[in-house]
Amino acid sequence: MAVAEGAEPISLKEAERPRSTPIADAWRLFRRNKASLVALGTIITIVFIAITASLWTRLGLLDARTGVDAMHTINPVNQAQQDSYPDPGVCARDNQDRNPYWCGWLSGDALASVQDTYCFRDEPVADQRQWCYLLGGDSQGKDWLTQTVYGAQVSLSVGFLGATMSLIVGLIYGVTAGFYGGRIDNLMMRIVDFMYGIPYLVLVILLQVFFTEIAREYQDQERGGVVGFVLDLNKDMGGLLFLFIALGSLSWIGMARLARGQVLSYREKEFVEAARAVGASNRRIIFVHLLPNIMGPLIVSETLAIPGYIFTEAFLSFIGLGVQPGTPSWGAMISEVRTRGGFFSNRHILLVPSIALVMTTLAFNFLGDGLRDALDPRLRGT
């Protein structure tokens, strides 16, 4: 069949033409925003450092994450130290005698009889490690650089997992309500309206107190079944699991509203009708036609919400309701400032975790702005 009326002549350069797929276009737009490129690089770096943190510890570049190994009794080497806070740059010799010297003499039954009271199994006797505090340390001799790096694990996982969870739950909820409409939509949106009336921090604090008390109550008990599994998992995650549940309890409702609004705006579009007219199933319409179109604004909004999750975790840890005590977290580190001497000297106690926190949230803000330029054409230029 001949090329019919009105057709364009085939361009010779058709093959060389730059591909203009939606993803390529979005990347081109994103690249134009230099600040968000830098932010993306920063986030990738922080994520990389956080993921590989235990490797650095094993290499001896970072101190231990938590526990007795992370603490050092300070025996000043380079400088006459007035208080017990190691200043940045100070090197200290760790002279903590963990096991009494006579433990080395014992063996067999004699050792077993005093095990767990005086002599601890896996610990070397009085190792005299030298540790240099690049960014200072706290009154327990914890290395602030190490704590900051491990604190990034908490902040980033709270940010990413909080965002992912709220995106998934909100998306499922909002798309269901918007797509099926009618009474289902009405009922589901009443529930959302109800949840909008719950003060976020009040619920989060109540849940966190509840969770920490439960965790404390069953600290030493063996529990079977699902409850025991969840409690163990939470313990292994340093209290993060319950924190996710508390933070996620309400954060999805905004996303559900946004997702529903997006679905409503696309549901009546003619291309969806066209898909219906050829007999496409609801599943196909949702996954092939609706989701790819509505994801952009949702991802943007979720990226911009990440700093909020990080702030809330930091605040909860600051007031002692966040991660389990001992787990490194920026909020808990900042709260050290309120302990003896924090406000009056040893500014690194405050500054190191603060800079890390601000840098991370700044990066997510810029990343969100860049993504908005790239993915959300409605808001371009604002």
Binding site: F194, I198, P199, L206, G331, T361
Partner: protein, 402 residues
């Protein structure tokens, strides 16, 4: 001279007639219908929130009389106290099997009970014991429904916190005492947020893509990325510890005394308000800038320019008025967020406001206080949400109530 007085009077009139004008501008009857509908819809929400907080707070291990960190009491004393505060009753529903039986009567879903009541005893009157037949629903003779019944009569019960219950402090009174403290911080922070945010946003938009824009937006982005727990200690170190301009904490009870025009009040107010206000101003500045930039590209602004109006008139008379629409609507969430926002600041600056009370009440298992404060926060939140809808409709005539 004449002109100024007229203007002043009209300004006064604007304020006096504001409610009526607001109502008319918002579509009168339909607005009232909308308001009534929203308030009616809020009632089940508040009930559900009470139920949730009630359940959650009673799920917390321990109780008000044996919470962690308190002196242990003998069991009989705990039982006595529980009876006194009605905590021996069933939690949600009083069923006949495990239920709470009124003195000497049978359990009835609904029926008459004989109750003894003390009467008289006033000035010179004699004290009498009066027996009375009272209609009661036993099914609802539980802690939750008794609380609900009292709360509907605006009686939020006595505080169960060990420090307060001995003095028989009522939750309502305690909240009434603490709320103004929180409000001081919140309201001044919102004012600061607007005073700082709007000029910054306008400057950034007017000098779009210039150094002014970049500096303003850098400030805004930094403000958004810096949480209270970072900003507050930094401010304390600079202004309280190093410069010694302000005290670290209030030692004169000024928060409870309330606002007054004194240097000391300003001193203790400054840091909390700045901490909270800077974050708000950052959001307001970005919103103002975006909104104004959008408006400046609209046709009617181009028309105003084409008419030969001065640029200043174009921006401040024609554009800014419309650009303020989305900015004004932020006041709803801001006001709703004022209380939860002050939460953070109160705990950092140890301000004796509601946030502090709430955290204390949770750890003391002060059930009545937990529910009272949660209810108040919810009412604020819901009113804020309603306010947003009303403001939208008022400012943008294209949106109608339906």
């Amino acid at each position: 001279m004449e002109v100024t007085t007229t203007e002043r009077r009209s300004a006064l009139q604007t304020i006096i007639y504001f409610p009526a004008n607001l109502l008319r501008a918002m579509g009168g009857a339909s607005m009232i219908k909308f308001l009534i509908r929203r308030i009616l819809a809020a009632i089940p929400v508040l009930l559900a929130i009470l139920l949730v907080t009630f359940t959650l707070s009673h799920l917390l291990p321990g109780g008000p009389f044996n919470a962690v960190g308190q002196r242990r009491m003998p069991d009989y004393m705990i039982r006595q106290l529980e009876e006194k505060f009605g905590l021996n009753k069933p939690l949600l529903i009083n069923t006949p099997n495990d239920g709470y039986f009124p003195d000497g009567d049978d359990w009835k879903i609904i029926g008459y009970h004989t109750e003894t009541r003390t009467e008289g005893g006033g000035t010179g009157g004699e004290v009498r014991q009066v027996e009375e037949r009272v209609l009661r629903i036993d099914l609802l003779n539980s802690q939750f429904f008794n609380y609900l019944w009292d709360a509907m009569h605006l009686d939020f019960g006595p505080s169960l916190n060990v420090a307060l219950r001995d003095q028989n402090v009522q939750v309502g009174d305690e909240i009434a005492r603490r709320l103004p403290v929180s409000m001081q911080v919140g309201v001044f922070a919102v004012i600061l947020g607007f005073l700082l945010g709007i000029p910054l946003g306008v400057l950034a938009a007017v000098y779009h893509n210039s150094a002014v824009d970049y500096v303003a937006m850098f400030f805004a982005v930094m403000g958004q990325a810096t949480p209270g727990i970072v900003l507050a200690p930094i401010l304390i170190i600079i202004f309280a510890v190093e410069l010694r301009w302000v005290p670290v904490i209030d030692q004169r009870g000024q928060w409870q005394a309330g606002p007054e025009l004194s240097l000391y009040y300003l001193q203790i107010l400054a840091l909390p308000v700045i901490t909270l206000g800077v974050g708000m101003s950052a959001g307001i500045a970005r919103l103002t800038r975006a909104s104004l930039l959008q408006v400046l590209h609209e046709d009617y602004v181009r028309t105003a320019r084409a008419k030969g109006l001065r640029e200043r008139v174009v921006i401040y008379v024609h554009a800014l008025k419309n650009a303020m629409i989305p900015v004004a609507t932020i006041i709803g969430p801001l006001l709703a967020g004022v209380l939860t926002g002050t939460f953070v600041v109160e705990l950092i600056f140890t301000i004796p406001g509601l946030g502090k009370v709430f955290v204390d009440s949770v750890s003391a298992r002060d059930y009545t206080m937990i529910m009272g404060v949660s209810l108040l926060y919810s009412i604020f939140l819901i009113s804020g949400n309603i306010l947003v809808d009303i403001l939208y409709t008022w400012l943008d005539p294209r949106i109608r109530f339906d």
